[in-house]
């Protein structure tokens, strides 16, 4: 569960330099897409899911958060104190999206090398081997590792030096379902130890089950951040309830119900209801009708993303931003 604030990103900004060749200067560059004045607070033990369309700026943001890309304006602070780039890199463990580990070096040698870069001991590097489940492959060459093992090694490197924040870019890529499950449990145990985790993934189903809060990114701007429920409310999602009964409701109970969808089979009567009255379930049970299913329907991450960006479901995965950077207004501002 989320605890105290461990890191505050305040109005941080970065814009990529994109080629803009001219006849007098073929190497000329201009500022292109990037991250615009973004505010984000990370709390200890919190798992933040970063979701956005292709080209929304997820990787750029994660690289900024881990000190790989410079923060051009704005600042990063911990407990009210602004920290330098080097201090940021010390406090953040980063797992990039694609690391194709190769070569004859062993897993252990690689971890020890990064432990030296990070300033932690060889023993702590060897401890990490156990945490990421690669103890038995410590002396295996990088060339012999499977994709899942390579991802674990990248995670191990991110964990070196016990960082306050763990930044993971598409960690589930190339993993089988068993490995994903183990990986998720590992992340949850790390969060319980107080590490704040920021995770970007296109595996929305996996993300949905893992995260405490959601950050929706679009065109380099954070369009929504908070718990799924708070974002639903802010985006105007109504609470929907799926009800499955063994027979139809009597008309007196149907009164004042907003039924969005209903269907009847021989064995069950199925309905999707909006704004369910508090005493409805009790009244149904009292009237002797059997309740087969009663559950609240949460909008999926895709639906939230569609609502936040204004894009439809079909184009949500296809909308690749071009270098023309068009800042959007924040939702809160639009509401005012």
């Amino acid at each position: 569960m989320a605890g105290e604030s461990v890191m505050d990103f305040s109005s941080v900004m970065f814009r990529h330099k994109v080629p803009a060749p001219k006849w007098y200067n073929p190497f000329k560059k201009q500022r292109g897409a990037g991250i615009a004045a973004l505010d984000l607070t990370l709390q200890s033990g919190q798992i933040v899911g970063l979701v956005g369309t292709n080209g929304a700026g997820k990787t750029t943001l994660l690289r900024m958060m881990s000190g790989v890309l410079p923060i051009e304006s704005g600042n990063v602070s911990t407990k009210g104190t602004i920290i330098s780039d080097q201090e940021l890199r010390k406090r953040v463990g980063f797992m990039p999206e694609h690391v194709r580990w190769s070569g004859q070096e062993t897993v252990e040698q690689t971890l020890v090398e990064f432990a030296l870069l990070r300033g932690c001991s060889k023993d702590s590097a060897l401890e990490i081997l156990g945490i990421i489940g690669l103890k038995n492959r410590a002396s295996s060459a990088l060339d012999s590792l499977s994709q899942g093992m390579r991802q674990r090694l990248s995670l191990g490197i991110a964990l070196l030096g016990t960082p306050d924040v763990l930044v993971l870019d598409e960690p589930f890529n190339g993993m089988d379902p068993v490995a994903i499950d183990a990986f998720k449990r590992l992340l949850q145990s790390l969060a319980r130890k107080g590490i704040a985790i920021v995770i970007s993934s296109h595996h929305l189903f996996e993300l949905d089950q893992l995260i405490d809060t959601l950050a929706l990114l679009h065109r380099g701007q954070l369009v929504a951040h908070g718990t799924t429920t708070s974002i639903q409310e802010r985006l105007g999602f109504e609470q929907l309830t799926e009800v499955c009964l063994d027979s139809e409701l009597p008309s007196k109970l149907m009164k004042n119900l907003e039924v969005l969808e209903q269907s009847t089979t021989d064995a069950a009567h199925h309905m999707i209801l909006q704004s369910v009255p508090d005493n409805l379930l009790k009244n149904i049970v009292d009237s002797g009708i059997g309740v087969i299913t009663w559950r609240e329907i949460q909008p999926s991450l895709i639906e939230l993303l569609c609502a936040a960006t204004g894009l439809d479901r079909q184009s949500i995965g296809m909308d690749v931003e071009n270098s023309a950077w068009l800042p959007m207004r924040k939702i809160q501002e639009e509401e005012e």
Partner: protein, 276 residues
């Protein structure tokens, strides 16, 4: 463990990786053929050189044999270091390295020293073998002072080419461009520089082709300060008698210092601003 100790440990990791690499195994026989091989050839008592040149001292023989360093040593330095950054960039490891808290200037020094040491070590051994070979064959033994300058000069020229190759590797987005850039630079300074020097001399009205012409010799000597191989030869010439190409020993060492510091500063700055 201090930051410096960690840095040197990382240098040793890069050094081991390069020295034990397959490409080093391929280059070692070439280096052996070029460095001690040249020394063996030039120390032959019956050698026939153009313009009836006969090396009269061990330093002169080693100077002639330095062509092995110019051709094979520098090429090996380029081939060893050309993917020092581009390989990591392509595999995604660079992103991980750049996200580590070790200051980037230290990371750049690790790359430079590690890559340079991996070529400097075998070349130094081969150079020492060459000096022994010259003494053994011609019975002219090189002095301690000369041997120190010859080794130092070789270290300098290898360092310059290592930094060029790493710079190319940091500028290139993929390995093809990195190697093309590095080899192109090697080609320019090793093979095309003579043409460039001759062309500039001719445009300035200097008697080109007159090898005994003092004006041409001075002109060429000064222009050589703009080439790493030229500076390398100027450093070696500080140990030779009867050579006057218009550049003093101090001038040669200052040029060597400039060729060392300027690319190093550029490379460190480049690593500081590097994005994956």
């Amino acid at each position: 463990m201090t930051a410096s100790t960690r840095m040197w440990k990382l240098v040793m990791i890069v050094f081991r990786r390069r020295v034990l690499s397959t490409r080093m195994l391929i280059m070692l026989p070439i280096l052996f053929l070029f460095i001690p091989g040249m020394a063996w050839g030039f120390s032959d008592p019956n050698i026939q050189l153009p313009a009836d040149q006969i090396p009269e001292t061990a330093a002169e023989t080693m100077f002639l044999a330095s062509i092995g360093i110019v051709f094979a040593g520098t090429m090996a330095a380029v081939l060893l270091a050309h993917d020092g950054i581009s390989r990591d960039r392509q595999s995604g490891v660079l992103e991980l390295r750049l996200s580590q808290p070790m200051p980037r200037w230290r990371q750049s020094m690790i790359l430079v020293i590690g890559n340079w040491a991996s070529i400097a070590a075998p070349v130094t051994i081969l150079l020492l073998i060459s000096m022994w070979l010259v003494g053994y064959r011609s019975d002219m033994w090189i002095s301690a002072g000369d041997s120190v300058v010859f080794v130092l000069a070789a270290w300098f020229v290898l360092l310059w080419y290592t930094v060029f190759a790493l710079l190319a590797s940091s500028l290139a987005k993929e390995q093809g461009s990195a190697i093309a850039f590095s080899i192109g630079l090697w080609f320019l300074f090793t093979l095309l520089w003579v043409l460039f020097t001759t062309l500039i001399a001719a445009l300035n009205g200097v008697a080109v082709g007159e090898s005994k012409d003092a004006a041409y010799s001075v002109f060429e000597g000064r222009l050589d300060l703009l080439s790493p191989n030229g500076v390398y030869h100027h450093l070696l010439e500080t140990r030779l008698d009867n050579v006057n190409r218009g550049v003093s020993a101090t001038g040669a060492f200052l040029a060597a210092l400039a060729w060392t510091l300027l690319p190093l500063l550029w490379f460190t700055r480049r690593i500081k601003q590097l994005v994956p």
